[in-house]
């Protein structure tokens, strides 16, 4: 394998409030290979969005603070970038699609101008040239270029998300981070958008991080999957490692909680209990209170990552190298 295009090392992000510290991301590490699509799955509060925002250096500070870690983009640490370099990075090297297309567009600007803005800034083209490029981008995402002068409220949710995708891909970024890009959309529209994203990713040679809580969407789009829980990746591997040979009790619990369309399960097997409060994480394994396979030692000992097979890493006491 070549050098990964993005490498996150031991990332720790806390939100420091007056009376408590929310430990959102705790020593997270992963690599993103060139042209790969990595899925990050987890429930609310698992730290998925915080991870994405850290890579973009968009963590609101205060209260958020990147305590330690490295985010290496092509060998350079994003955390050491100055303001000027960051502006060049966002949108050109790494761009992001946000969850809610309704709020991520500016309601008082024409959609065409919003696409042209990125092109104008990063490619240093004149306004006129940028507009032509922007029209091309509209066509690429399946919107007629006649709609260049329309405002966001004139588009439906699915169309707005297409515009957002056009903006994010306009400068041909190396990495695209998509945070729940289809969660706000209806399933038939979601299918359209996912298919288009897959095709564009191929054409643009982009690596992608897809954040989702939907294991179905991930299975369709990603090559590799990381399962997140309480600010860390508890299991990461390729699709087969996770969907067929899932090892971590949380991974298994997640699959047990989703109704299967293709078989007749009478009753779901939910994971007991609740996600721990990230302001008061238990000292040992964060999954300990809910884990059906817990051992006494889990209460105090946080297991390190063990590589079960090449690329399949697990953080659980039960994972042992053979």
């Amino acid at each position: 394998m070549d050098e990964p295009i993005l490498s996150v090392r031991n990332l720790t992000v806390h939100y420091i409030k007056e009376d408590s510290t929310v430990r959102a991301v705790n020593g997270l590490s992963f690599d993103l290979a060139n042209k790969e699509t990595l899925g990050l799955v987890g429930e609310t509060g698992a730290g998925k969005t915080t991870t994405a925002l850290s890579i973009m250096r968009l963590i609101p500070n205060p209260p958020g603070k990147i305590i330690e870690g490295e985010i290496l983009f092509k060998g350079e640490d994003v955390l050491r970038y100055n303001k000027h370099r960051l502006l060049r990075m966002r949108g050109r090297d790494i761009s992001m699609i946000f969850q809610d297309p309704m709020t991520s567009l500016n309601p008082v600007l024409k959609v065409g101008d919003q696409i042209a803005e990125v092109i104008h800034i990063h490619k240093k083209l004149s306004n006129k040239e940028a507009n032509i490029e922007a029209m091309k981008m509209l066509e690429v995402v399946g919107i007629s270029s006649d709609r260049f002068n329309d405002y966001p409220h004139q588009f439906s949710g699915g169309m707005k998300q297409r515009v957002v995708i056009a903006i994010s891909l306009a400068c041909n970024p190396k990495i695209l981070i998509a945070d729940e890009p289809t969660t706000a959309l209806d399933v038939t529209i979601q299918a359209q958008v996912l298919e288009m994203m897959g095709a564009l990713k191929k054409n643009f040679d982009t690596s992608m991080i897809l954040i989702s809580h939907d294991l179905g969407v991930i299975a369709e789009v990603c090559n590799r999957v990381g399962i997140m829980y309480a600010g860390n990746i508890v299991e990461i591997g390729n699709l087969e490692d996770i969907y067929v040979n899932g090892f971590h009790p949380y991974t298994k619990g997640l699959f047990g909680s989703i109704p299967d369309l293709d078989s007749d399960t009478e009753r779901l097997k939910p994971i007991e209990g609740l996600m721990p409060d990230p302001a008061h994480l238990p000292p040992g394994c964060p999954f300990y209170p809910r884990c059906p396979e817990r051992l006494p030692e889990c209460k105090t000992k946080l297991p390190g990552a063990v590589e079960l097979s090449p690329g399949h890493l697990i953080r659980c006491v039960h994972a042992k190298k053979n």
Partner: protein
């Protein structure tokens, strides 16, 4: 003989808008046997929530009739509406906005009991509230807590307890698990199934998520732009679909397994406007099998095999073709 609890006949609800009449629910009929669950599925704007609200008289209907437990409840006075509502309750989608943030959990669950004067004294009410909290699995220590102290799953349990306070026969569940995380969602779905068994409840379960309805419903109706396009038993729907929209909807669900989705149908375009719809099949602009008759008149819901209803002019032809590929 099945014992029907709720029957809805030719229900219509049109909203007036500056651009014309918005057909939110257009000629919908069905009945629900006692103790069973009817799943109502569809995408945003198909009229599924309006339907739930019409049944509970939270909206006034334009036309049609509703028969509940053998009694026509279409036209009721305000007092009669209040009386009937103790038998029909609702669980709302958003556990954050559907409970009052300034009331404690105990007050929220006890409020229906006060309104309907169900308890003789404070002690009796407290006992009832306690037993409701136990039924839905909320710890007693939370009785004086405020909603902001609870997470989404627990709040939804409070919403369920409130709905059950008056021992209803019938509950409209409008996307009750959509705002919840998967692991919590499974807990709530199991709870609702247990309660149905224990209390003999009848549910209408409104959702956009087909995998959830399959799990909980006995019968399913699929809606598109205010119309029922397909109706049949839950199990049957997932093995045999006749309507092109149902086929597309099912094939569009991402499956959580490798290579899970085969022969996917990607629909063109988006849902059309429900304002002043023309006299043709509502699915006409997006349908892949479209033929001349589709643009001329609206297909009626017809029974094509036992208990399986479809509203499509060409379902025989389509399904002859579809089985081959």
């Amino acid at each position: 003989m099945t014992d029907t609890l709720l029957e809805v006949r030719r229900l219509k609800k049109y909203f007036k808008t500056p651009n014309g009449l918005l057909h939110a629910v257009d000629d919908v009929s069905f009945s629900i046997p006692r103790g069973t669950t009817l799943g109502v599925v569809g995408e945003s704007g198909c009229g599924k929530s309006t339907l739930g609200r019409l049944i509970l008289h939270l909206l006034d209907l334009t036309d049609g009739s509703i028969i509940f437990d053998g009694r026509d409840i279409t036209n009721l006075s305000k007092q009669e509406q209040k009386d009937i509502r103790q038998y029909m309750q609702m669980i709302f989608q958003d556990p954050y906005s559907s409970i009052n943030p300034r009331m404690t959990i105990g007050e929220i669950i006890g409020e229906p009991l006060i309104i309907y004067g169900k308890c003789k004294n404070v002690a009796e009410r407290a006992e009832k509230v306690n037993s409701l909290m136990e039924t839905v699995g909320i710890a007693q220590r939370l009785i004086n807590a405020y909603p902001h102290e609870l997470d989404g799953g627990r709040r939804q349990r409070v919403g369920i307890a409130r709905a059950l306070a008056l021992n209803p026969k019938f509950v409209v569940c409008d996307e009750p698990v959509s705002a919840l995380d998967v692991s919590i969602r499974a807990q709530i779905l199991n709870l609702m199934q247990d309660l149905q068994e224990k209390l003999g409840l009848t549910y209408i379960f409104i959702t956009h998520d087909l995998s959830v309805v399959k799990h909980i419903s006995d019968e399913i109706v699929v809606m598109y732009l205010g119309k029922i396009v397909e109706k049949c038993e839950s199990k049957e729907l997932f093995s045999t679909q006749y309507h092109p929209y149902t086929k597309a909807l099912l094939s569009a669900i991402p499956r959580p397994k490798i290579g899970g989705r085969k022969g996917r149908i990607i629909l063109k375009g988006e849902i059309s406007s429900p304002i002043n719809p023309e006299e043709k099949c509502r699915f006409f602009p997006r349908c892949v099998y479209v033929k001349e008759k589709c643009g001329q008149n609206q297909p009626e819901l017809r029974e094509v095999s036992r208990g399986h209803f479809v509203a499509c002019h060409y379902h025989e032809e389509i399904n002859g073709v579809a089985k081959g590929d």
